[in-house]
Structure formats: structure tokens, C-alpha cells
Assembly symmetry: C2
Homo-oligomer: 347 residues x 2
Amino acid sequence: MAVKKNLTIYDIAKEAGVSPATVSRVLTGNARVSKLKKERIEAIIKKYDFKPNALARGLSETKSNVIGMIVADIRNPFYATVFLECEKEASRYGYTLMVCNTLGDPDLENIYLEKMYEQRVDAIINVGGRVDDLVSNTDFVDHVNRIANVIPVIITGKLDGSDCYRVNIDQMQAMEVVMDYIISLGHKDIALIGGRDNVQSTVDKRSRYKQLLKRYGINVRNEYIVEGKRYDDDSGYECMQKLFALEQLPTAIIAINDFTAAGAMRALTERGISVPEEISIVSFDNTFIAEVTSPKLTSVSYNYEKFGEKIVHAALSAIRGEDVPRIQLIQSELVIRGSCAKLNKVD
Amino acid sequence: MAVKKNLTIYDIAKEAGVSPATVSRVLTGNARVSKLKKERIEAIIKKYDFKPNALARGLSETKSNVIGMIVADIRNPFYATVFLECEKEASRYGYTLMVCNTLGDPDLENIYLEKMYEQRVDAIINVGGRVDDLVSNTDFVDHVNRIANVIPVIITGKLDGSDCYRVNIDQMQAMEVVMDYIISLGHKDIALIGGRDNVQSTVDKRSRYKQLLKRYGINVRNEYIVEGKRYDDDSGYECMQKLFALEQLPTAIIAINDFTAAGAMRALTERGISVPEEISIVSFDNTFIAEVTSPKLTSVSYNYEKFGEKIVHAALSAIRGEDVPRIQLIQSELVIRGSCAKLNKVD
DNA sequence: AATATCTTTGAAACCGATTTCTTGGGAAAG
DNA sequence: CTTTCCCAAGAAATCGGTTTCAAAGATATT
């Protein structure tokens, strides 16, 4: 009835009058056991609510059924959503997730990598952090590779020279979705705010932004590309101050993520500029922040479900030793809410 | 130099010309080893970047150095913050966290509880979910107790009749902080929106709200207490519609959490009612949602750092078999931002 | 120099599962 | 009725650590 302390297959075996090996066979289903004994053993397992010790099993099978996940900051809804989707998928295959937050500390990233290895996780998923950095740190790459050599490592960034599997958001396509939409609304004066120069995803977005403007025959104005210090709302607010200092305000703003957009909206509200009537805003990530602003934000969704699926499937296939594509891309789509409007001014 | 596959203490021992026992002694530091051998062994460990197999160690020590955490939804910034603070504290003591999301599914809660036990985590932290429910489900309590009997379980809710350790937010005090503030600004017509009837924390807040109104000699108006279906922004929006239907709008609104407040603000913005000039809003949780609205939200902060500390310390003490208080309370303080103003209307 | 005490270290048991190897019994084949 | 084959199930090895126990060596005591 009650879980007793330290019940083992030996106890079960004794009570069933069989050997521990037979109990193990019932547990794993890896070998045939006579119906009679099988039922007797199962009844006893149920009676005591016996659960085999995963440590012992892991030691014996040299496999823990745990996947490690290293994220920059789980409070960031982007990471939280990716994590959740990974968990959903992983649990379908009997895996549990172990999580560590690096909080942007490169040393912690190394330490947690070691820790995951020590825990003998079956795979490591690394989302955000240094794997996103453009400046490829050779030491870090070496360190990751030493581990990727033993345990499959899946990253969502780039990390040149690493032996990791990559599942990446197709930033080019994501930006295209945004630009097509905003331009279809008649906008030509479009700013791109937020993001740092040394982050791969930001650099990709910027380059596609310029490329698409050209394709549409619109002049690229460098003062409309505003760098942000971080990826939070205050950075968005600061970016807007820079735009306010210009002679001509853009009619549409693309924010690097929802946080940045929210900060931008706050700056606009303070100035009495209304969204979307006077200025339109789109952003990336489609986190719940996009639901929480007034008006709600139109934002690019990365299809998190598929993102999580691909990440976990890459991990599982790699664990099984199957061939896994080194790079996979995720396509995005726009979720239209209330922050964009048709341009009706005529200049 | 490189992590080699499946290096064990036996390999280290062989290369150092000692027995595995001696290597183990160096690793654990639990026994004296001569300086000469110690240094030789340490050099070899470093050379190969050897990390002992945590599964084997765990099996041997019957202790995994892993703490399991069950939350309702890690995307909710409240849970994410609690988790992060727990992780910070736990990692100081060499513990790693394993996380599962129940997404409000009671069956999953049971399954994950079992899974954690199977993984032989050293303690389980359960935040949100059924441990917060007022309707005490005897089956669930039994199930939790069966596990709490073997592994310490720490919950942030109530769960009558359970053998768990409780670390709770002092909802009474939290509400008092809010009410004192809002009343000091001159408000008398104060609504309390959001939250469900069967959630402990909500019920506590409501009862304190009424109590405090009486203490200040203000009439309790039942139409100012609006229940929300969920704890999200849309619920906040719906609550506001109910208030709009009343003859007299309140001058201040207390929202059950930041999400609800954000939804309420959206409803107000749509109606052209300005915050805080025409109506003030306060809320609970002080998540980053409070930073992301325009204006930023004044919100009650639960001192998450201390919250995480107390939870983890309770877990660690219980693991060590020390005496742990069955209930501990967390005190809150108000973080004042821009969503409240003095009442200057005279009726 | 002989005895007592303290350190250091290895051998072996143990943690709790899985799995290989082996054997005994029953069914099928000759 | 014997021989062959298959299947169920136990004994024992294994996974990789920690720890107890005992022995050997070094140091201190008389």
C-alpha cells in the first residue's frame, strides 16, 4: 500500500519466490516470462507501488533517460517556451529534463556543461548563451567539443567549428514574413530597433532587412537601424529615444523581440503617439508579452512546438546513434494582432 | 586532454599505480591520502578531465544530489522566478534541479511525482498545481504522503492533511501592504479583480481585503469583488467589462496578479480611461510583466530570493534529517512604479 | 630493542538494477 | 521411446562508484 523505504527487486523477488533476474525481465519487458510468474510479480509490484531505482538502472544500462538543458534565463518567455515544448516531446519518450540557467555568465556555462556530463545525461540541449555569440571563442568551442564528443549536444545557435547539432530559426525567412507584411500595409519608413551586434540572430535579421528594402526599392537609412544594449524593455525604450531625436519618425517599427517592442510602446505612449494609428509596431518571438500590451502586439511566431520537436528528435536520434542532419531550420509565421495599421497618410 | 569515453576510477587508479579505493578517497575527501599519491592522482584526473559517474556515486551513497521541481507552467514568470531562485541556492550546495510542468493536468502531477521518486531525487519541490487547491482531494493527499514519507516534499501551497513542508507567502500581509498604500492615496472605491474561488491564495487575499476595508471604515461592496476564470490577461479584461457594467466605477483596482492587471489596463486603454490619472491599478507578483506595461505597474514583490532560499533550505535540512519547521512564511513589500496616483477628485 | 599507536592503503562487500550464460523441463521430431 | 530443440528462469558478472575491514608500515613510548 505505502511506498516503503528502499524496496528493491530483491524484495519483490523474494516475496514472489523468484529470482531478481525474473523481476527485472518483467520490468523491462526484454525477455519472456511465464504468464503465471509474470502476473504474480506484477501484483506484488502494484501492491507496494514499487518503482525501480533509476540510478541503478542507469548505471547498468549506461544511460540515464535524462536530457540536460542549458538556457540563459528561464524567466525569459522565449526560453521558457522552448523548454516547455522540449519537455513535452521528451516526456513522450520517457525522458526527463534537467535545467540550468547560465544568466549570461560564461563561466557558469562551462561549469554546467561539466555538471551535465557528470550526471551522465544522455544529451545536452543548449539554448541561448554563448552558442549564439558571433565572436567564436576557441576555448569555449574546444570545451564544448570535448563533451560533444561523448554526449550529443544540440544548440539553437551557430558556434562555428563545433561538433554540435544545430536546430536554428530561419532568421532570413522570419524577417521576410515581417517585411512583406509591413510593406503590404504601405509602409516605407521602417525602423529596426534593438539587438546587439555580436549576436548571430540579430546580425542575420539586419542583413535580411537591408536586402529586402533594396528588393522593394526602398532606400536603406542607417539611422533607422538602432542597436539595443540588451534585449529587454528598457532597451526598447532607449532605442525609441534615439528615433525621437531624428528629423523624421518612421511610420513602422520592427522590434528585435517582444520585450523591446513593449519598451518602445511605453516610450510612444508617454509621448502621446498612438499605436497603431500613428505608428505601427511588429516584433519577433510571439511570447505572451505580445498579449499583455495595449494594443496586443503583432509578432512573428517560431512554431515552438515544432522547434521543441526537432530539437528533441535530433537529441534522441543522436542518442540512438542514427544519422542526424547537422543543421535544421525552423520556419516562422506572423501572428497578427492589433499593433499594425495601413499607412493612410499621403506625403 | 580530451574527455575519453567511459573513463572510470579504475583507469585512473591503474595509471596512478594505486587502488580504486584511494582514488575514491581523493575524490570525496572523506579520508586521508598521502600527499605524494594525492598529487599524482589529482594530476591524472586533471589530465583526462575525469568526472566521476554521478549515477554510480548516487547508487552507492543512496543520494542523487538532484532536487525535483514540479511546477504548473514554467512560462508563467512567477514560477520561473521561483524556480530560478531555487536553482541559484541549490547549486551553491552542489544540487541540480530536474523540472516537470503539469500544465494544470492532475494526472500529470501524479505521474511526475512518481517519476521524481523513480529518479531518486533527494527532495521534491511542488509549486502551484493541486497543492494550491482548496478542495482537498483525499486521493491526491494520500499519494503525496506516500512519497513525502520517503522523500521530503516542500510545497508553496496548503494541502491539508499532508506531510509536506510548507513555505508560504503571507497573503494576509501582502494584501495589507497593498491596501495600506492604496488607501493612503485617498482611495475608498477599491475593486479586487481576478482569481478563482477554489484557490487558497485568492481566498486568503479576499478575506483580508474585506477585513481591512472594515478596519478603515469603508463599506464592502460585493460587486467590487470580481472573480476571474483564469489568472491571465484575458481574465483581467473580462473582469473589467463586469466593472464597466456597474453604475459607479471604482477609483482603484487591485488585480490578483500582473497578468490580470495587464488585461485590465488593456480594457481601460480601449475605453480611453487613463492610468493612473483616472484610475489606479496595483497588482501582485511583481513579475517582469509589471515592467512591460504602459505605465509600468506598481506591484507587490514577494522577495523571491528569500523565497527560493527558504524552500531550498527546508529541502536540504529535511534531507539531512534535521528538524524543519512545518510552515514558514514569506513577507512582501510593494514596488512602486507608475500605475497609481493620489485621488484628487472630491465627491 | 620491544611494544603500543597512528597512518596509509588495498581487498572486498555493497548500492540496485540489467544481462549473459547455463541448466532443467517440456514439446516436437524421428 | 529416444533424441533434438526451445523456452523459462536462476546464478553470477557487470555497471562505477563508496566504505568497511584488515593488514602493513611508520612513528612514538618505555
